[in-house]
Each structure stands twice: as structure tokens, then as C-alpha cells.
Amino acid sequence: MRDIHAELEQWDYDAPTTWEPSSGDILIGVVKGCSSRGSENAVETLTVQEEETGLLVAVLLDAPDLANLIRLQRPHAGERIGIKCVSSRAKDPSRFILMVDRDQIGEQPLPIPTGEDAPEAAELHDDDVEGATYEERSFIEQALHEDDPPNPEFASQEDDGALREIIRRQDEQIAQQARSITELESIITSAIPLLCNSAGPEASAKADEPPANNGMSKFALAITFVSSLSLALACYIAYLLLSAHV
């Protein structure tokens, strides 16, 4: 016998009422939540706010077929569902019907099965809604044919490294050119005293006197100078050639 007094003393106005349906009973409402099993013996409970009364109703998922229906359709909190008790016999394998009011275009409501092999609802065939649109298909095809976009960060690092290498090479070339110029200068510098000394000591003693063979000395000096200049020019041309080759 129930302890009605104790139950009334502990009455929780906020506690949901357990749904104990009979054959033909229908419950329509909004899912508020589903409690998980606290222990092996505990029963999962689906809490529904009944549409007609606004009361919270606890739907026990102890019936295997109802539990499977819930597991298949996975109604989320906030979704509107309808449950009908077809049979009140506990041993009946299909006691309940579950419908979830989802905004799925193209998914038609399930027909009431007349047999075990009753066909399922019509399949989705509206490609315009469920399939990929033209824009989506084009996007995919374009993505397939495009090369991977360069990683901007990686690209900048790569360019940075290339620039550093170019700068390093240019520094080496400049240093080499400076050495070449220094060598040329030393050659030219060393050639000029030779040009002066090639005229002999008499030339220095008779510096004030016009030399007897003034024309010849000048010619020899010119020849020497031209030879030195040619040498310098040849060196410079060689330097240019080397620079171009590098």
C-alpha cells in the first residue's frame, strides 16, 4: 500500500509527472531533457513539457522499442515530439510510435507500419535542397584544380632567405671588384715609375735642358704610356668579363 501521506508531504510541484500510458494514449510536447542512467538499475527518462497542459511529463524509457526509437531519432531539447502508445502489453515488441517534428525539408513522416517489413518513408530525392547546389559543386571543382594557396608566412620567409643570398653574393662581388681595382691601381702605380726610369739618369740630370732627342724620348714615353694604358685597359676588360660571368 502506498504511503500517500509521505508522498504528499514530499510532494515536489516541480517534479515531472511520470507518463503511464494506456493503449491509444498520445503525448505531444517539447523535449526538455533526457536524464542518463545513474546506475545499472536506473531507467533513462525523457522529460517532455506537454503541449496541451504545459506540465512536465517524465517518459520512462524502460520499454526497449521506445528506447530504440529515441536512440534512432535522437530528439534534442527544444524539439517537438509525439509519442503514441499502441499497446499496453509490456511484452509487445512494438508498443510505441515516435515522431519528431524536425524542420527537414524532404523528409516525409513515417507511415504507420502494417507489418514487420513495412517500407520506410520515401527517400529524399530533392537534389536542389539536399544535394549540392551549382555554386557548391563549382566551388569544389575549383578547389580541386587550384594549386594550394601559398602560405603567406612561409612565402615571405622564403623570399627573405633568397634576398639575403642575393645580397651576400653581391657583397662578395663588390669585395672582389675592390680587390681587382686595388690590383689595377698597384699595377698602374708601379708602371709609372718604370716609365720615368726608362728614360735613364741623363734625363734626370738634363731635366732643365731640352734633350737632344726630345722627339724620341717623347715617343718612347708615349709608347710606354700606351703600353701601360693598354695593359690597364686589358685588365679592366678582363675584370668586366669576369664580373659578367659571375
Partner: protein, 170 residues
């Protein structure tokens, strides 16, 4: 199996739950496409793996499947495996094409779980009715499959769906 009535499918799923105590992972190979029955089955799965090929039609089909799935299961986490790829680079490129489309149009994410290279010797194994993963372990494709399987089996995932549905034991 997808052609089962809802009652039979529910009974089947109930029986699969009985295997939960002795099984770590159950894999169901469902049909391709965004079929309503496939979606129903996919929603019952904890995880989904989309197996695609470099064929654009396959990628578009997978995208449509993902679109329908995410509509009913916004929290779905979908894996992608690229099959019959010419190279791992191509497989990755195919995945990125699908992932970018999903991210662009559905605002969701699909996860890459590996690529399996094409190998003509798989066909000969099939003719001999020998699983190439067991009969030709040295093949690159066998190693690819093992790597993908290891990746899927080891990573913790939330409940998600696919053309291949998986249920993880609790």
C-alpha cells in the same frame, strides 16, 4: 540492411548494443549518398567516416551527405578518408577541397583521417578472396589502411556520423 523497416532496424540496433560489452568498435558500412535511411542509420552512430575518392562526383556526394547530416546533427563530427588516391599529396588536396567547401557553405568542420593509395594488386587480392591487408601486408595500401584504422581507433571523438557508421562501446 538499410532497407530494413524501422522496427527491424530498431531491433537490430538493440542487438548491437548487446555487443557493447565485448566490442570496442562496431563499424557499419552503409550506402553512399544522402539517403534518408542512411541518415537515420548515421544518426544512430557515434561517429561517421566519409570515404571519398579523388573523383569530383564522389566529393560532391560526400559534401551533400555532410550537409544533410549536419542539418539534423549539428554536433556531428565527421571524418574523411580519401581512397584510391595517386599520392598522399593528392589525398590531402582532395580532403582540403571537401573541407573548404564544408567550412564555406555549412560552417562546420570535417577531420582528415588519412589517405589510401590506389594499388592494382588490390583487385587481384579481391579475385582471390583474400583481404589484401592480411595477404599482402607489405603493400603500401595495406600500410595505409592500418594507419587509417589506427588513427580512427585511437582518437577520442564525440558522436558523429557518416556513410560508415561506428558505435563505440561505453
Amino acid at each position: 540492411m538499410i532497407r530494413l523497416s524501422r522496427k527491424r532496424l530498431g531491433a537490430f540496433l538493440e542487438q548491437t548494443r548487446e555487443l557493447a560489452s565485448t566490442t570496442d568498435l562496431l563499424i557499419f558500412d552503409a550506402a553512399a549518398g544522402a539517403d534518408a535511411k542512411v541518415m537515420t542509420f548515421a544518426r544512430a552512430a557515434d561517429e561517421v567516416v566519409l570515404v571519398i575518392t579523388p573523383d569530383p562526383a564522389s566529393i560532391v556526394d560526400a559534401f551533400a551527405t555532410a550537409k544533410v547530416l549536419f542539418r539534423s546533427e549539428p554536433d556531428a563530427k565527421v571524418r574523411v578518408v580519401v581512397n584510391m588516391a595517386e599520392s598522399q599529396e593528392q589525398a590531402l588536396k582532395v580532403y582540403r577541397a571537401l573541407e573548404s567547401a564544408v567550412r564555406q557553405f555549412i560552417k562546420k568542420t570535417v577531420y582528415y583521417s588519412g589517405g589510401i593509395l590506389f594499388d592494382s594488386r588490390v583487385s587481384s587480392c579481391n579475385r582471390n578472396k583474400t583481404p589484401f591487408v592480411l595477404g599482402e601486408r607489405s603493400l603500401h595500401v595495406s600500410q595505409d589502411v592500418r594507419r587509417v584504422a589506427g588513427l580512427i581507433g585511437s582518437t577520442q571523438v564525440a558522436r558523429q556520423a557518416q556513410t560508415v557508421g561506428m558505435q563505440r562501446a561505453a
